[in-house]
């Protein structure tokens, strides 16, 4: 009995101390080369620091390295739809994909200041607590309590509300399907009002 207890405590200590398995993979690429590419090919829509000038183009600042690479590969392979991004991604070499991924990961997203404050309480509730009646899990569960995301789940904090709404729409309609069906299910459980509220809350997150 005491031996078991000791092992349980030792195992718990181990769990706290070890980094997540995904954090162990060493990213490859060159952020400085990535920045040069962004200045030439991406700046008009995503801005030089990844905080794009126009809300219809997503912020890419602070996206995780693995996530950016996955999205660019999926645009290249037409597994994620976008008439705009597919041809842009198609001409990138693997080296360039890694370089921009490293560069985006090194940039800081700034929160949006044009949010509707009246929507924030409901948005926050959904983000932190979900809606258990309809089976919407808390967004924080996967995307992190502060919206920082990780290698598997994208960063959301500070993203434009227009882009968030548009992506949730794509998930709900089954047009974006690179999510192992999880976001498609969640998008279909959200009401139109909830989508607006949570999108504004996400945009406001620092």
């Amino acid at each position: 009995m005491n031996g078991d207890k000791f092992r349980k405590i030792a195992a718990l200590a181990l769990l706290g101390a070890l980094p997540a398995a995904s954090a162990l993979a060493q990213p490859v690429g060159d952020a400085a080369r990535g920045r040069e590419l962004v200045e030439q090919n991406c700046i008009a829509c995503h801005g030089v620091d990844g905080n794009g000038p126009v809300p219809s183009f997503p912020k890419v600042a602070g996206l995780h390295y693995e996530y950016t690479i996955k999205q660019l590969h999926e645009f290249q392979g037409k597994r994620r739809p976008s008439e705009i991004m597919q041809p842009i991604a198609a001409v990138l070499t693997e080296q360039q994909v890694q370089d921009v991924a490293l560069y985006f990961a090194s940039q800081r997203a700034v929160p949006v200041d044009t949010v509707d404050a009246s929507l924030l309480p409901l948005g926050r509730k959904l983000y932190e607590d979900g809606n258990s009646d309809s089976g919407v899990p808390a967004c924080a569960g996967c995307h992190g309590t502060e919206g920082r995301g990780n290698a598997r789940f994208p960063r959301l904090a500070g993203q434009f509300q227009e882009y968030v709404v548009a992506q949730i729409q794509q998930f709900a309609e089954g047009k974006r399907t690179n999510d192992k069906r999880m976001m498609q299910v969640i998008a279909n459980r959200l009401t139109a009002e909830e989508v607006q509220a949570v999108a504004h809350y996400i945009a406001s997150m620092p």
């Binding site: 009995m1 092992r7 258990s132 899990p137 069906r181 299910v185």
Partner: protein, 224 residues
């Protein structure tokens, strides 16, 4: 720690097959062999990888796996690996109905090995005791019924049995326990243990509430 888990799991697989024989009701065999379940049970579980895989569950069962008293999301922390594995595989195979959760535990999201890893992680977590409880009005009745009819499988402290796939019921949310007991009694939880169904068949809702309240207040011994 790993060796301990493997020994425990191997023991569980063996006795699981034997126990399935006692769980027959008509054509239904409780805990019948299932290739996916057997893979998850036999997998050399890695709780660190399990913690990462558990991320997709946190939005409902919460980061500390304490669940939610109000939403009927059960507490998972400290549940036996064998029980967790069986229940997840049952949901995937359609033997236990859980439409809210099903898309998040599908084969697209989790491999059998992920299930084994998650279970080993959850089993190590301490079970919180600030769970949802009943109104305390029928604890004596609950205690009497539990001692008479449930203790032989679920244990003095509600600790169940990892070997036998009997769930921990101690410190579980009251509303969840009550809902499960109703479903088990009424034949709506299709993966139930036939012998247990026999035991609670004649109970009214009042008795199920008394039992649920009593179990929600049981606390696992510290040195389990």
């Amino acid at each position: 720690m790993k060796r301990f888990l493997i020994v425990a799991l191997t023991g569980a697989v063996l006795s699981g097959a034997a126990l399935a024989q006692q769980g027959k009701a008509g054509d239904y065999v409780w805990n019948a062999p299932d290739p996916e379940k057997d893979r998850a049970l036999a997998h050399k579980a890695d709780p660190v990888a399990g913690k990462v895989a558990y991320e997709v569950c946190r939005g409902c069962h919460r980061a500390d796996a304490s669940g939610r008293a109000d939403a009927i999301y059960p507490q998972l922390a400290g549940q036996h690996t064998t029980v967790l594995i069986k229940q997840l595989v049952d949901v995937r195979a359609g033997r236990r109905h859980n439409p809210k959760m099903e898309p998040f535990v599908s084969a697209e999201v989790l491999s059998a090995e992920d299930i084994g890893n998650i279970a080993s992680y959850l089993a190590l977590l301490p079970t919180p005791t600030n769970n949802g409880k009943g109104d305390g009005s029928k604890l004596a009745l609950g205690e009497r019924l539990y001692r008479e009819n449930c203790v032989r499988c679920h244990g003095n402290y509600g600790e169940g049995s990892a070997q036998a796939f009997y769930p921990v019921v101690a410190s579980q949310h009251y509303e969840y326990l009550f809902k499960e007991l109703q479903m088990i009694r009424d034949g709506e939880r299709r993966n139930s243990y036939p012998e247990m169904v026999q035991v609670i068949k004649g109970y009214g809702d009042d008795e199920l509430r008394a039992l649920s309240d009593y179990m929600s207040r049981l606390v696992l011994p510290a040195n389990r």
